[in-house]
Symmetry: C2
Subunit: 134 residues, 2 copies
DNA sequence: CTTTATCCTTCAATTTCAATAGGAAAATAT
DNA sequence: ATATTTTCCTATTGAAATTGAAGGATAAAG
């Protein structure tokens, strides 16, 4: 199960992508529509901004908006950014790999199956974008 | 990423299934071979026993052994038992479903994609057994 | 120069996770 | 019987992560 933070991030992006306007969108609006605590959401959006996914404008008429076209933002990117590894085991992760100290990965049946799960999951999450959420 | 507890459970079962003998296997042996803290492993194996996956015998010559044929134990069963939900969101979980309060699940793009991930993952985890780990 | 809204740091509550301690109960061997 | 071995059970601890709040700084607009 994804952490609440990740769920919130995905929901917020979904909301933004669903709107007809390109923004900017207020934290308070996103939060009330998607039932996300404002202050928590604030930190999440800031993180997305620092990663270059979103951009923002301060003051009246300000808010958050996409810094890239939503159709270019992979869901896998968001999840790795907020959640961390997508794989189920460290020894099977592409971006957060850690060597297994109790088995030979080449021969390990668990490793093999978990890699299969990973590849299946990535084939979806790396080929769907924020645009596909609408 | 799976919790350490779940990783340990899978590793312990892998170890047991790999042996030529049918056991019983000592907690201490499994723990030292798979680098799992003994006391932690103890509670995990007990949990697997209470769920009917394993059985045990006390005293000299005792230990843990399979209560069912490893080829009948789905990996999904183990994961749900120790980890909980396999799905990435509550609103797409089959065994731990929780309704979404901020979207219409029928129309939600996030819901749709996460269901796809879930189905893909389950198609592997429900069709691979502990026996497939060797 | 007031209002609006994001930015940033700090902090706090709670929960979860990982692991340990210590002994009770059961089985076996002597 | 008694000692040894091994699982069973309860409780607790310590650390870390999660979730979220407080309060003010900064920037933009009117």
């Amino acid at each position: 199960m994804l952490a609440k933070k990740t769920q919130y991030a995905l929901k917020a992006l979904t909301y933004m992508a669903e709107q007809h306007s390109a923004g900017p969108f207020l934290i308070a609006d996103i939060g009330s529509k998607k039932k996300i605590p404002i202050k928590f959401l604030e930190s999440i959006l800031l993180e997305l901004k620092k990663a270059g996914i979103l951009n923002s404008k301060k003051g009246k008429g300000g808010g958050y908006f996409f810094n890239q076209d939503p159709s270019t933002i992979q869901l896998a990117t968001i999840m790795r950014l907020i959640e961390g590894p997508i794989a189920l085991l460290p020894c099977v992760s592409l971006h957060f790999y850690k060597k297994c100290n109790d088995c030979n990965e080449k021969k390990c049946g668990l490793n093999k199956i978990m890699k299969e799960v990973r590849d299946n999951t990535l084939s979806i999450l790396e080929n769907r974008t924020v645009q596909d959420l609408v």
